[in-house]
Amino acid sequence: MGESMKIRKLLLALLILVFARVGLAQELKKEFIEPQAQDARSTAVKVKGGTMLFLAGHTASQPRPDADLGNFEAQFKATFDKIGVTLAKAGGGFDDIVSMGVFLTDLRYIPQFTKLAKEIFKKGFPAITYVEVSHLARPQSLMEIQPIAVLP
């Protein structure tokens, strides 16, 4: 009687362990290393668990052709609208972005980019790499953004 109780307790403990493991495997842990609020970015983002989403380079293009006006803010909004659509389709949102390659035709847009990015990210800033390039795929494009997201 005493022994079977012991075994039952052991089995229960094992069962709890199994469920704890399943729980741990699903839980997403995210840590922002050296976040710099003034630059809307973190030096690094550490992530455990979750589902990875690798996005293509996104630019301002259809369905917002009106955004291609050489206006940086309009292109930013159109670009992030498209990123938002892609993220939503995959079951995520802007705050799931952990890293972004930001390709600009002129790095003097960085302060404007930072200002606009602060409104996008509410829970922490992703790792960002800014690079100035001579050309993007479309002549009117001022920016192309290549994000990586980790969905819960």
Partner: protein
């Protein structure tokens, strides 16, 4: 009877416990040692670290080794080392990187210097010329992803 049940419990425990510590598996696919990179790196398990572009700057963001490519590369790896340590890992945990340089012809200098950076295998890598980098005067910036062992 009691012993048999106990055995079952232990057998179950043996089955569950080893898998609860998620080991990391890593394989460098088609390494290219003369240029210190691999065509691919295959990884299973572990914790991901996404690094922002790292360049040759000090803690205040001031440019180091102006005009000196080798000096800038060294300063960049020093920064990477510091960030990786802060994330709880080391440079050997880097699995992939995109290297932006303001002159494509510096590629060989870069890959030659990279040979000393990695001890346990080379990450995958892309190398390209950028017109400008974030810090004025910077000749190199590296964007990397690392996977830490749990």
């Amino acid at each position: 009877m009691m012993k048999f049940s106990t055995r079952i419990v232990f057998a179950l425990a043996l089955f569950i416990l080893p898998t609860s510590a998620t080991a990391q598996e890593r394989e460098m696919v088609l390494p290219v040692p003369q240029s210190a990179y691999s065509q691919a790196v295959k990884v299973k398990g572990g914790t991901l670290v996404f690094l922002s572009g790292v360049g040759p700057v000090n803690e205040k963001g001031e440019l180091q080794a102006p005009g000196d490519y080798r000096g800038q590369v060294r300063a960049t790896w020093e920064n990477m080392r510091r960030i990786m340590a802060k994330a709880g890992g080391s440079l050997d945990d880097i699995v992939t990187m995109t290297v932006y340089t303001t002159e494509r012809r510096w590629g060989e200098i870069f890959t030659d210097m990279r040979k000393d950076v990695f001890q346990t295998g080379y990450p995958s890598s892309a190398f390209m010329e950028a017109r400008k980098l974030k810090t004025p005067g910077a000749m190199i910036e590296i964007q990397a992803i690392a996977v830490l062992k749990d």
